[in-house]
């Protein structure tokens, strides 16, 4: 099979963790694309920033606590991880409240990164 150039793929995570399947499905898709060694970046926007909130305890709810799985992204060399400053602020969060290191950026800066992608995948 012909060698295909890497695609630049940005995941836009905009939904909270446990109220819908979006965030979990997004994480799975990121890991799959990461395994295919594409150029991945991930931006957490709106309620998506809640996905990375520290101290999630899902035992009483009886569902999987998948936020810790985001820690494995760096094993896939996925280090371009961004969070929208306004989304964090509106929810009373800072980068310190998140389970992995993120680059906190203004909407305009994230928008510029979006423009440079081959594909945008919203979750």
């Amino acid at each position: 099979m012909a060698e295909k150039e890497k695609s630049k793929i940005m995941f836009l995570m905009r939904k909270a963790a446990h109220g819908s399947i979006y965030a979990y499905e997004g994480l799975e898709a990121i890991l799959i694309m990461g395994a295919f060694e594409q150029e991945i970046s991930v931006a957490f926007i709106d309620d998506g920033v809640f996905v990375l909130k520290k101290e999630q305890d899902t035992k009483p709810l009886g569902v999987k606590e998948f936020s810790r799985t985001f820690k494995t992204l760096e094993d896939f060399d996925i280090t371009n991880i961004y969070a929208d400053r306004e989304s964090l602020e509106q929810r009373g969060l800072t980068a310190d409240d998140l389970i992995i290191p993120v680059k906190v950026m203004e909407a305009g800066e994230i928008a510029k990164l979006m423009e440079g992608q081959d594909v945008l995948l919203p979750f």
Binding site: R14, E86, A107, I110, M114, E115, Q117, V119, L120, P122
Partner: protein
């Protein structure tokens, strides 16, 4: 970059977030319940009027008509799905859903 919205702006913040991230000149396509944003006389109208100064705004006419939206904000382009496809062909697509 083409931004697409298919949820009512009274139900979700998709339109709001789209407008925060969209660059001036980026086209915005409203379809399904997203077309409620083009109804004149709502609380969304000021934000939409502002958006219309910065972006070409398209709405699927069949969706607009199906919802009884007769008072459409000025300078919104009412179009069909072939126009939607044409825009998708020309732009990187950012769906807000």
């Amino acid at each position: 970059m083409l931004h697409t919205i298919n949820k009512s702006p009274f139900f979700s913040n998709n339109l709001e977030s789209c407008l925060r991230f969209a660059k001036d000149g980026d086209p915005i396509m409203l379809y399904e319940d997203g077309v409620y944003a083009v109804l004149a006389g709502t609380k969304i109208e000021p934000a939409m009027k502002d958006a219309l100064k910065k972006h070409p705004v398209y709405a699927i006419e069949a969706d607009v008509k199906a919802r009884g939206i007769t008072k459409v904000l000025e300078s919104v382009y009412l179009c069909d799905y072939s126009c939607f496809v044409g825009l998708v062909e020309q732009h990187l697509v950012s769906p807000w859903f």
